[in-house]
Each structure stands twice: as structure tokens, then as C-alpha cells.
């Protein structure tokens, strides 16, 4: 995954997490049944989405940096290449 795409995903993840954490912070100062609902259904969803986007970005970045099999085989048997 190129660097720009990763950074874009990190920003998106960060934005969602900031929004979710902000909702959570506000609901902590409001003792009402609605606060609980907002926390779960708005804050919770934003936080989970943000974490998922981050984890997906990690996975995609990990796949992009994995070397292919031909490269690995060549590296393991340098004496073959020398011949």
C-alpha cells in the first residue's frame, strides 16, 4: 500500500475515533438514559469503525510489504544463483 493511502486511512481512522471519544466524553457528564443510548449507538459505532479502519490499514500495509515467493527462494539458495 502506498504511503499516501496509508496516511489517508490513518486520518480517517483518527477522525472517527476522535468523534467517538468526543461523544463518550460528553455523555459522561450527562446522567440520563439518552446519554447511555448516544454512547452505545453513536460513540460506540464511531470508535469501532475507527479501530476497524486502522486494523484494515495495518493488514493492507502488511500485505504490500510481504516479499513474493520467487524472491524468497532465490534468497534462500544463493549458491544456485552463483552457478
Amino acid at each position: 500500500m502506498d504511503r499516501n493511502k496509508l496516511e489517508r486511512r490513518l486520518r480517517t481512522s483518527g477522525a472517527l475515533l476522535l468523534a467517538g471519544l468526543g461523544v463518550e466524553l460528553v455523555t459522561l457528564f450527562w446522567s440520563h438514559s439518552t446519554a447511555f443510548l448516544l454512547f452505545i449507538f453513536l460513540g460506540g459505532i464511531l470508535i469501532v469503525l475507527g479501530m476497524m479502519i486502522f486494523l484494515l490499514a495495518l493488514l493492507a500495509a502488511g500485505e504490500a510489504t510481504t516479499p513474493d515467493d520467487s524472491g524468497k527462494a532465490a534468497d534462500r539458495t544463493p549458491e544456485v544463483r552463483a552457478v
Binding site: 490513518l10 483518527g14 475515533l17 476522535l18 459522561l28 438514559s33 447511555f36 460513540g43
Partner: protein
């Protein structure tokens, strides 16, 4: 009593600062340290904050003010201040037989979020009805009140075990303990909240900790 709210608020604020750092400076994740920071900021801290938040809200939902925050419960809240000892909820609340800040939960421990999964589903349905449906004119329990909730505190108490009425008949006490004879039976402790009698009731003005009313 130790309160974890300031710690939770601090955790959330730190999480927000770290998330903002990654969000506005994503280039710091190039290095190994930056990658670890990103993982801590975008995963570990949000998990801690979310888990702490859930715990805090679950504790708050046990509080009397939470239950009474829905206007549907206004009459039930009023019933706690009726100046009549035959009103069971009022007698318990006013004499600190249940903690005042958790009065509802203490007696209704298996209700909505704090019961089994059916109770939790009912709780969600209540929320739906509260905001999108029509609240019924009369609110009733889904099933008869279980003596277990009363016996949680009263079993073993002298006034219960040796009370004249409870021992008036040979097997009455065993029937009460086995939930075969309801504590709320007619002629016994039948007036609990007494919602239909509130219009004629007198009310007690609570004496606050500083002595004011």
C-alpha cells in the same frame, strides 16, 4: 467511595490527544516507534476508553436519577415521597432501607439491563417505545414480583422471621420463602408504588444532608 470517573475522563482525554497526533502527523508512523505509537493510540487507548465508558454507564444506570430521567417514571419517583408507611416503596426509600441513590435497582435487580437476555431485550423495547412508540397508560411488571427480591434483605431479619403475621398460620413463612405466597398479596404489603392513589396522597419533604428541606 472510590470513583473512577476522573481516571476515565483522563484516559479519554489522553486518547483524544494521541489520536489527534496521529491524525495530523501520520508521517510519524514511518518509524518503528511511530508504528507502536499508532497502535497504542488508535487501538489500545480507544479500547480502554470504550471499556471504561461501558462500565461507567452500566453503573450509572443503576442510579435512581437515571431511572427517573424518563418522564414515564415520574409518578413512580413521586411515590417514593408519599407520606404513608403503607406505601412499600416510600417506606423503604424514606427510612434508608434501600440506598436512596440506587433505590429502584435494589428492588428491581432483575429488570432490563440487569436481568437475563430477555430482560435486556425488553429494556431495548422500552427505549423504542419511549422514543418512537406509545407508552401505555398503566405500567405493570411483566411477571409477578418474586419474593426473592424481598428476601434478599429481609430473610433472617428478626422482624420477618418472628413477625406475628408471618407466623399466624403454620406454613405461612415457608410459603413466603418458597414464593408460593406473594409478599404483595392482598391484605399484606399490597400497596407498593400506589400510583393510582397519588392524587390523594400527602408527600414528605426530604431532609437533606445539610439539614435543609
Amino acid at each position: 467511595m472510590v470513583t473512577w470517573t476522573p481516571l476515565l475522563v483522563a484516559t479519554i482525554v489522553i486518547s483524544m490527544v494521541l489520536v489527534a497526533l496521529i491524525m495530523f502527523r501520520p508521517a510519524i508512523t514511518i518509524g518503528k516507534g511511530g508504528k507502536i505509537l499508532a497502535f497504542v493510540s488508535l487501538f489500545i487507548f480507544p479500547v480502554l476508553s470504550g471499556g471504561g465508558g461501558i462500565s461507567e454507564h452500566m453503573e450509572r444506570s443503576k442510579r435512581t436519577e437515571f431511572c427517573l430521567s424518563c418522564h414515564t417514571m415520574a409518578d413512580h419517583g413521586k411515590s417514593l415521597r408519599v407520606d404513608d408507611p403503607s406505601f412499600l416503596a416510600a417506606a423503604h426509600y424514606q427510612n434508608n432501607r434501600v440506598p436512596r441513590d440506587q433505590a429502584c435497582f435494589t428492588c428491581h435487580t432483575d429488570y432490563t439491563m440487569f436481568g437475563n437476555y430477555k430482560a435486556k431485550l425488553r429494556g431495548l423495547r422500552h427505549v423504542y417505545v419511549q422514543y418512537l412508540g406509545k407508552v401505555p397508560d398503566k405500567i405493570e411488571l411483566y411477571s409477578p414480583y418474586n419474593n426473592r427480591e424481598c428476601l434478599h434483605c429481609h430473610q433472617g431479619a428478626r422482624s420477618f422471621e418472628e413477625g406475628a403475621t408471618h407466623n399466624a398460620e403454620p406454613r405461612r413463612l415457608q410459603q413466603i420463602k418458597a414464593n408460593n405466597l406473594s409478599c404483595n398479596s392482598a391484605g399484606c404489603h399490597e400497596t407498593v408504588h400506589g400510583i393510582d392513589k397519588l392524587s390523594e396522597a400527602k408527600f414528605w419533604n426530604e431532609v437533606k444532608e445539610d439539614g435543609s428541606k
